[in-house]
């Protein structure tokens, strides 16, 4: 839910599954490789005791069960770990994030933030953590080079996600979200697309499209995330007070390499959700006749000329639909938006205006344009056709997250793709939590009491307190408690764990 004023502020975060490959050892499974990556980071960065902290999957189970779940693997060679160890590799980091293996991919769930800029920074930090993790794993004797890709498809039928989460007011009817947010998600591909050479889930038609993800959406609304993917996902697991909040889990987005694309993706979505909560889009009818087909058609048209058919027969381009949302947002926030909101409105307008002229002028800020420019450059220089393997490699290698190999990262290095954060800011976000949410408390506890945290989740921490017979579970159900403003001065006093927990329970009382 928006926090006080009309603007972009709300609890939000991004979780990203990375593509993974081991070119020199095709026999290594994706799950094994993912486990090696996660464990390599944990072993290098987190003291051995830290690794006892496990995800608190079953907060309702007797706490004693959490004991004994721990096994120190600090001394184990990664190659000696069993598949089971690798598939359950899972660490909570000092920045409040979760780094783990989600089936066949390493995943980084960034800590909860309250502004799009902060959430973008933490998504970036996640990419840098993944890059380092893969490097650490690959340096281990006996382990081959493991490569990670921030993309969403192998072009052979598989897709994996970059999901956004937005906390919303429970009072907002979900039908209104479906009615008013669907057209936004379908048309925002003009700036969220990371570009893809290949059409259809298996990429058999070698033509360029805006989005990595679009072709994998098959239904309008539903619960699934891995099959028959819906444009609006109904998963309702708020990790907050369910009476007050819903967590909207948005699964349509591409994983962006461009910070600017991520920033605009988060900021514009938060504004539109704020308007839906506020009821100010009520009279707008932006319903699409056939959202799933339009999702594909918008993505398949890099000229951005495609006319979407709205209910009632009206035709509008994706940019025109986005302009309606932007105009409503400008009116909604009023004459004095806060700086974070102003930044998003300006960026949104800049992108729509520029795309409406010559889309290629967005090459410095949008992934699909940056990628298309590279592909067109190669095609022209070498006289290639779209089915050239070199072009397919450029499509893939654009998303390689290594600084020296990834093409997006090379574009950044040369100043051709804008960066929003300094190296220092990103490095700090790799280690320190955002101060604006409960991620602050989680991350600080992981840093200060690594030996005492036996389990953690978004909405709980479980401590093994010295001298206590039973474990102590601290619920963190409110994402806006446990912030620096809330517990910073307490933590700054370097309390023992016992003193901290006593102070917190007094606070609760």
């Amino acid at each position: 839910m928006t926090m006080g004023s009309r603007g972009v502020h709300r609890v939000m975060g991004i979780e990203t599954e990375y593509g993974i490959s081991v070119p020199s050892d095709p026999t290594m499974t994706a799950m094994q490789a993912s486990g090696l990556v996660v464990n390599a980071y944990a072993q290098h960065h987190l003291p051995a005791a830290h690794q006892r902290a496990h995800w608190d999957y079953l907060p309702e189970s007797p706490l004693r069960d959490a004991r004994g779940f721990d096994m120190s693997r600090a001394d184990a060679d990664p190659s000696q770990l069993t598949d089971e160890d690798l598939s359950t590799a899972n660490v909570i980091l000092t920045n409040g994030a979760r780094l783990y293996v989600d089936h066949a991919h390493p995943e980084y769930s960034a800590p909860e933030c309250v502004t799009p800029r902060e959430a973008t920074l933490h998504d970036r930090a996640g990419m840098m953590i993944m890059a380092e993790a893969a490097q650490l794993a690959s340096r281990t004797p006996g382990i081959p080079q493991i490569s990670l890709y921030k993309n969403n498809t192998d072009n052979k039928g598989a897709s994996y996600g970059c999901h956004e989460n937005y906390l919303m007011a429970r009072t907002t009817p979900f039908a209104e979200v479906v009615r008013l947010f669907t057209a936004f998600l379908v048309t925002r591909q003009v700036f969220t697309g990371a570009g893809r050479l290949g059409k259809g889930q298996e990429g058999k038609v070698l033509e360029f499209q805006l989005s990595q993800r679009a072709d994998f959406f098959e239904t309008e609304v539903g619960l699934e995330t891995t099959i028959r993917r819906p444009i609006i996902n109904t998963r309702d697991e708020p990790h907050a007070d369910p009476e007050k909040s819903r967590r909207l889990h948005v699964i349509t987005g591409d994983a962006n390499l461009s910070d600017t694309a991520t920033l605009l993706k988060l900021g514009s979505a938060s504004l539109v959700l704020g308007m839906i909560e506020d009821g100010c889009l009520k009279s707008d009818d932006l319903s699409l006749d056939d959202p799933v087909s339009e999702m594909h058609r918008v993505s398949h048209d890099p000229s951005l000329k495609h006319q979407l058919r709205l209910t009632g027969g009206r035709l509008m381009s994706a940019l025109e639909v986005q302009s309606v949302y932007l105009e409503r947002a400008i009116a909604w926030v009023g004459p004095e938006p806060d700086p974070q909101t102003l930044e998003i409105l300006r960026l949104w307008e800049f992108v729509i205006t520029t795309l409406s002229g010559d889309p290629m002028n967005c090459g410095g800020v949008l992934d699909w344009v940056a990628k298309l420019r590279l592909l067109e450059g190669y095609r022209t220089r070498d006289g290639l056709t779209w089915d050239s393997p070199a072009l397919q490699l450029i499509d893939l290698q654009y998303s390689d997250i290594r600084a020296d190999k990834g093409l997006a990262r090379r574009l950044e290095e040369r100043g051709r793709l804008a960066r929003l954060f300094s190296d220092d800011e990103v490095a700090s976000a790799e280690l320190s939590p955002p101060e604006s949410t409960r991620a602050y408390f989680r991350g600080e506890c992981m840093r200060r009491f690594p030996e005492s945290v036996v389990a953690a989740s978004w909405d709980s921490l479980v401590f093994d307190v010295p001298g206590h017979e039973s474990l102590v579970r601290v619920p963190t159900l409110d994402p806006l408690r446990g912030t620096r403003a809330h517990v910073g001065s307490l933590l700054d006093g370097d309390p023992s764990l016992t003193v901290l927990l006593e102070a917190l329970s007094a606070d609760e009382g």
Partner: protein, 62 residues
């Protein structure tokens, strides 16, 4: 960088910052051709593009 944080106004027409390029959108970004860049990329691309692309097979995720 925007010189100051202006109000965005209540409609696009009366905004006084229409010409302002967002801080994040354009500065430092070259819009010239990509030729010199392509030369660099030539040296970075994985060997044997066809085999490399073919071997990139993922399991589905979320």
């Amino acid at each position: 960088m925007p010189q100051q944080q202006h109000s965005s106004g209540s409609s696009r027409d009366n905004r006084d910052d229409d010409s302002a390029v967002p801080a994040s959108a354009a500065p430092h970004v070259s819009v010239s051709g990509v030729d010199d860049l392509l030369d660099e990329i030539d040296s970075l691309l994985e060997d044997n593009a066809e085999a490399f692309v073919k071997s990139f097979v993922q399991k589905g995720g979320q």
